[in-house]
Symmetry: C2
Subunit: 476 residues, 2 copies
Amino acid sequence: MDETPASLDPGLVDRFVAIVGKHHALTAPQDIAPHIEEPRGLFGGLTSLVLKPGSTEEVSRILKLATETGTPIVPQGGNTGLVGGQMPDATGREVVLSLSRLNRIREIDLSSNTAVVEAGVVLQTLQEAADVNDRLFPLSLASQGSCQVGGNLSSNAGGIGALAYGTARDLCLGLEVVLPTGEVLDDLRKLKKDNTGYDLKNLFIGAEGTLGIITAAVLKLFPKPKGRELAWAGVGSPVAALALFGAANDRAGTALTAFELMERTPLDFVLKHIPGVQPPLAGEHPWHVMLEISSGRSAEDARSLMEEVLAEGFEAGHVADAVIAQNETQALALRHLREAMSEAQRPEGGSIKHDISVPVAAIPEFIQRAGEAVQEVLPGSRVVCFGHMGDGNLHYNVSQPVGMDRAEYLAHYRSMNDAVHAVVRELHGSFSAEHGIGRMKREELIATQPTVATDLMRRVKAAFDPAGIMNPGKVI
Amino acid sequence: MDETPASLDPGLVDRFVAIVGKHHALTAPQDIAPHIEEPRGLFGGLTSLVLKPGSTEEVSRILKLATETGTPIVPQGGNTGLVGGQMPDATGREVVLSLSRLNRIREIDLSSNTAVVEAGVVLQTLQEAADVNDRLFPLSLASQGSCQVGGNLSSNAGGIGALAYGTARDLCLGLEVVLPTGEVLDDLRKLKKDNTGYDLKNLFIGAEGTLGIITAAVLKLFPKPKGRELAWAGVGSPVAALALFGAANDRAGTALTAFELMERTPLDFVLKHIPGVQPPLAGEHPWHVMLEISSGRSAEDARSLMEEVLAEGFEAGHVADAVIAQNETQALALRHLREAMSEAQRPEGGSIKHDISVPVAAIPEFIQRAGEAVQEVLPGSRVVCFGHMGDGNLHYNVSQPVGMDRAEYLAHYRSMNDAVHAVVRELHGSFSAEHGIGRMKREELIATQPTVATDLMRRVKAAFDPAGIMNPGKVI
């Protein structure tokens, strides 16, 4: 924030404010503040105007005016993104457009198993609405109490449930999108099969608001399982975990609704720093797995399938010890161990984070080679590895050596990223599995992806947003 | 074919031929003939050159030369498409590029559950390779003995298995694509989660070769079920079938691997015209359902789940009668009844076909209203309705009135299409669910889709293929 921010022309501000009404336009610094800070404090920005439109039509009028006047627009949902995609830049010339008032669930169709929701609906609100209707909306994230559906789609969010149900992309059947010109693309169709021309929908999903603004979506709902069983297993190695995953997947298919791999270190951090938690297993194990089985038939069916999976794991020698939650309280306690891992890392000092994916088969090799690479960059660094094994997606975080100065450690951010991502590239993986590109990874995207791909992306951007007003400086 | 075809310049032909070698370039009319006729004989075309490249690199050199010389290229797979997407036009100036020699399965990765296959691999060959490896490749089509994976992806093929496993789009993790310039986009990654920029992959899937040529793909494999049970049920109405589907889906989830709805008429045609078939049930029913349950655990598990589903259907009054196949022979016989429905329609005279989808909940209303619309266009026309109910996708064919002249009937093709598709539009459905647009439905796409959508599609086309050499006159 060293630059002196420019102000928006007051006359222009008035024109934008007139669209949404005074009560829905934020201009006072204290009102704007929450919209220009994000959870990790890595990306700041400035703006003198936050607009909160109340309808698709108002979004359309805002973008039309933005195109006419060349005003950059930064769409923002629940402001929980981790890569700065929702933050304005430091110039003060960008207008933040908050989708939070577009928060209606327009329809739930129980026969088609679909929900039509506006972009500003909070994820947990949709989960609860599905639940009340005896349905499941399976997208589940740590930030679900505040993140919004529009942001989930714009960043193609993942999470634990993606294993069986897919990412946000897979859960979306149709979109309503406002284009930079203000035109509205109404493609809110509830169709699983639709081959009428090019797939525009999937361009907007994951585009982080750089091609247009998603204002509503048709999302898939699923039958609510009648039984869910959660288990925790200690395993000797990532190879053993991979074998257990393969066998569980063969037997359970999409009834295997979670398969999380965790190294001992993040579990130790949770046991050390989070109050009121208990070790999941009596002995000590270098690696841990949390798995969930769901059944549309009954709790007994889920239980017997879980027992089969674990019995096979014991027999084959993949599982050293395991426990099945005996009730909902125990299940919540086990889940909490996994979910607290990010938080439990904080007291251990600086953390350099990676959100990577590799082919599932390459997980053990990645863990081996990335571990070596980390020690080469900075001996004593502590790998804190946990994530969605069945998706090949690991949150491969690296905590600072014990006793080191935090700032000194974080000075290695780039070299650590480079070393880990080099292993990812060699294994044909992705350095951005589920958190997006935003501001954080844009340079790396451009530097490391094939030119033929980034060139096509630039052509798409130019074709959809020729004036370059949509969330500039993000993605590409 | 009224126009006098132009010839390609002989010097240019020589340059193309030099890329693939003489033995892999077809120039004699009898060799070319199979490449300019398609299954239904609706779309013909002319060409004086069919190229059969043997590598991605040769495809690249062909497209580079095509761009340099402004030569239109028509990619062709197994030539089984039903909308003319694989046919050259009548000018004789388009070169057909057959992918059939790119037919290697490059890799099967059992831990990642992926196959890397070239575009010219025949679908059934891939199914068999998966099977040998104790895996399932679930895409399944009537034309699987000759259609090719590249064509399946380019048309986003569907079929019965899409209910549980998704369409071709859902089965694809990564692509290798040759762009019109000859540049190769190598995105053959086996990643379920990858948010590195815009989703280019899904643009090429379903684009029918109008943006580039898919030369290879990473496809998902699934565990091979240990048990599969097939049942046939007689039901009183589409409403009853919808209720049965809802209950089956709640209980079985993705273990419900087929749910086909059929009116009595197509079944009667099969029983009348196909030798050696038996009625599936003793009594007569206005509507029929074929459903399949798969289990990763055991045959007993699949059987008990099927029995639960049918018992619930009987108790709720949705099912009037049902039979479960007692062995593989019986299962094949039941499947054959469904699969023979297209063939059995032929002896009944002219058929006007529709490949539609509507929201699952709207299937009964569609059937009611489309039935009325058909009678308004031509009283006595016989609706032959069957398809993938769980996907909201029906093959809504209309056979001619008994005794009418075939040509006289087929003169109603456009008005019948218009009437049926009007109902589809009112129910927010699609007039092209799984067969694509090709040449057949291009005008209708442009006439009936929102201008904002077709305009974006044109911009995509211009951005990817500025010279307009990729399969001109198809899709958009």
